[in-house]
Amino acid sequence: MNLSLTEEQRLLGETVTRFVADRYDFLSRERYVREPPGFSRAIWAEFAQLGLLALPFAEQDGGFGAGGVETMLVMQALGRGLVVEPYLSTVVLCGTALALAATPAQKAILLPGLIAGETLIALAHGERHAPRHTLTQIRTKATRRNGYWLLDGEKSAVLDGDSADKLIVSARTDQGIALFLVDARAEGVTVRGAPTYDGRRIADVTFEAAPVAADAMLGAPGAGAGILRSVIETAIAALTAEAVGIMEATLDMTTEYLKTRHQFGVAIGSFQALQHRCVDMLIQLELARSMALFAAVSLPLEDAGTRSRNISAAKIQIGRSGRFIGQQAVQLHGAIGITAEYQVGHAFKRLTAIDTLFGDANHHLDALAEAGGLA
């Protein structure tokens, strides 16, 4: 058992934490959200300079060769600042997919731009009318035609879909689910974006006989569901870490507020009922922190069943903790907690979104119970 960080990991965590503290105060964040793509290109460029966009890629591909722990450290730091840049979609989701399944040729084309912060990629998998969180029962189809593929279907809730240059799209083929690399501005592709309640962007993407070159398939035909499973597990682990960063900052803000806010002539932090509530928030934070760590170290497990059970367990805990901490932070702040002018409400909303993404706590509890429980 070794819960220490390597010197390199410690440095990485500190660097990103410091960067967020320096550059991502709440007012700056409000500015970034209002910039045209929905986030700050300048911040993104600095992420590139810090090497954060290279995290999941092998060293021979120009990457950092990092694993779950490094991603955990970065996401936790990003969580503290409620960072809205498309790190989860481009680096964690699509980066993992590329690292896992891209051919050397595909990597050579895509990775330099991605790592340099020039190329943004989004994962287009979920569908509004498919069984929720299915990996396989989607309707989008890829039909082979004269050495091309034609894509038809509708994807929904594509994270950062409208700023993406490229899309990784899942579709049914006669050999099973396959993934395709598609240019977001290609013929037959329509992207309609909208803001999300947590200060980000989301898109519906429609494919109408959109032609895709044969060499744009990512991984083997029929391998799509397996790749998606790994990619989503990696994203869940990353989200649990982001949530821990948010909860940490939220609890800090809340206790600070209770110390400074006075009513009835005393700091409201002197009220025992509120103190005990904060202790319960701390307990939820520490349980969540443990499960973020559990998720990070579970990613390399070879046994797919165990890995998926562990990831579900982490998502359950993060959902429970995030809801409690988010709701209570708002409640303890009183009216100021429900204004958009103060960070705590945004933290609450992002925690809500994190629970919703890739299956909420209840969904994963069903899945885990179906699998018989942990180990």
């Binding site: 069984p131 519906d204 009513q263 009183g334 429900i338 909420d360």
Partner: protein, 399 residues
């Protein structure tokens, strides 16, 4: 002993239901069904329809346009309004300033304001909370200094709901800074068009801008706009807050949400979005809330019955104190369920709140999370649930 309504009460229920079927505009019903945000025009339109029917201000004294309804009728009316998906009339006009004027206003004040209040010709807002005086209302600092036949008001109110629409504000202001905190406060009616008033909207986490800061810079208010006696404002405010308890648990609203959840469950099951396991899980949770809601409903009915027939104890007094706490907890729990039902597509904001791109989905899915966020306020405003528990501990349990 029974929980059924009398044939007369049932007939009244049918009358309300028929009225809503015939007169509630479809677009309003649809907005309420989806829990989308209602604009000023929506609320004014509906208030005037109600007023034309004589039902805008049923709890007011009959002489001032009220109805001589029993507590059970008031309960039924509120429940049917909620189940029929009718907008709630402005509480500031109907439940607050109207009753205060009826009870404490001068004849001139009644004459001038009451019919306009009932018809929403004047839109009222409530100027109580201040920065630093939320739950601890008695520590408010906005000053009103007498200057001839005017008060000169200087200070700031905050969280003033719908001040951006308001023609008038009823406000608590400090007229005697030397008196004990609750003594030197007066109750003033302030014309929002007066020079020196600035309204700054505050965006809330549901993306709306219905909360406001209101700044007063030497605003001159005629002394005829004082309610009752100077420095007695705290008494009028207390009377206003304890005005009506037949609807305090808002059971009808939660019942309507349960019906809505059932509809959505069916929708998701039918469309294949929800697996049988999803369906079973959500149904079990919904039924859990249904049971709590039934318990809350009967607790509310016990209070209604006690109000109808004082002296027949079924523990109703202590029951009344808990309706607000449990009622808000249930309302909030039901909004959580709708967020779960909405799933990841529910991340998208309603475009009308942002003037952004075209809608990704209609209706309920995109309204789910904003309504959830919005409803966090119900356990904060009007005396937070923590304050409510302090009150119950002291007054009911004697702790």
């Amino acid at each position: 002993m029974n929980l059924s309504f009398t044939p007369e009460e049932q007939a009244f229920r049918n009358e309300v239901r028929a009225f809503l079927r015939d007169y509630l505009p479809d677009d309003l019903r649809q907005k309420m069904l989806e829990r989308r945000h209602l604009g000023k025009e929506d609320l004014v339109r509906w208030q005037r329809i109600l007023n034309a029917r004589g039902w805008a201000t049923p709890a007011w004294p009959v002489d001032y346009g009220g109805q001589s309804w029993t507590p059970a009728q008031r309960y039924i009316f509120q429940e049917e309004m909620a189940l029929g998906r009718a907008p709630e009339p402005s509480p500031f006009n109907v439940n607050m300033i109207g009753p205060v004027l009826c009870k404490f206003g001068t004849d001139a004040q009644k004459q001038r304001f009451l019919t306009r209040i009932a018809n929403l010709d004047d839109w009222w807002c409530q100027g109580f909370s201040e920065p630093g005086a939320g739950s601890d209302l008695a520590s408010l600092k906005t000053r009103a200094v007498r200057d001839g036949d005017h008060y000169v008001v200087t200070g700031q109110k905050i969280w003033t709901t719908q001040a951006q629409h308001a023609d008038w504000m009823f406000a608590l202001v400090r007229t005697d800074p030397a008196a004990k905190p609750q003594r030197g406060i007066s109750f003033l009616l302030i014309d929002m068009a007066s020079p020196g008033i600035t309204v700054r909207p505050i965006e809330t986490i549901d993306g709306e801008r219905d909360a406001n800061e209101v700044f007063f810079d030497a605003v001159r208010v005629p002394s005829e706009n004082l309610i009752g006696e100077e420095n007695k404002g705290w008494d009028y405010a207390k009377a206003l807050l304890g005005h009506e308890r037949s609807g305090i648990a808002r059971v009808g609203l939660s019942k309507e949400r349960v019906l809505r959840v059932k509809e959505i469950e069916a929708l998701l099951a039918e469309s294949g979005v929800f697996s049988p396991a999803d369906q079973a899980r959500v149904r079990r949770r919904r039924v859990e809330l249904e049971v709590e809601l039934k318990a809350l409903e009967i607790t509310q009915l016990r209070v209604v019955a006690a109000d109808s027939q004082a002296g027949h104890g079924t523990g109703a007094n202590s029951a009344a104190s808990i309706l607000k706490i449990k009622g808000t907890e249930l309302q909030q729990a039901l909004t959580e369920m709708v967020v779960e039902l909405a799933g990841p597509e529910g991340l998208a904001m309603r475009p009308e709140a942002h003037g952004a791109n075209a809608p990704l989905a209609d209706g309920w899915i995109e309204a789910a999370a904003p309504y959830y966020f919005n409803m966090r306020k119900v356990s904060i405003f009007g005396g937070s649930n923590e304050i409510q528990r302090n009150i119950v501990a002291k007054t009911v349990l004697g702790l």
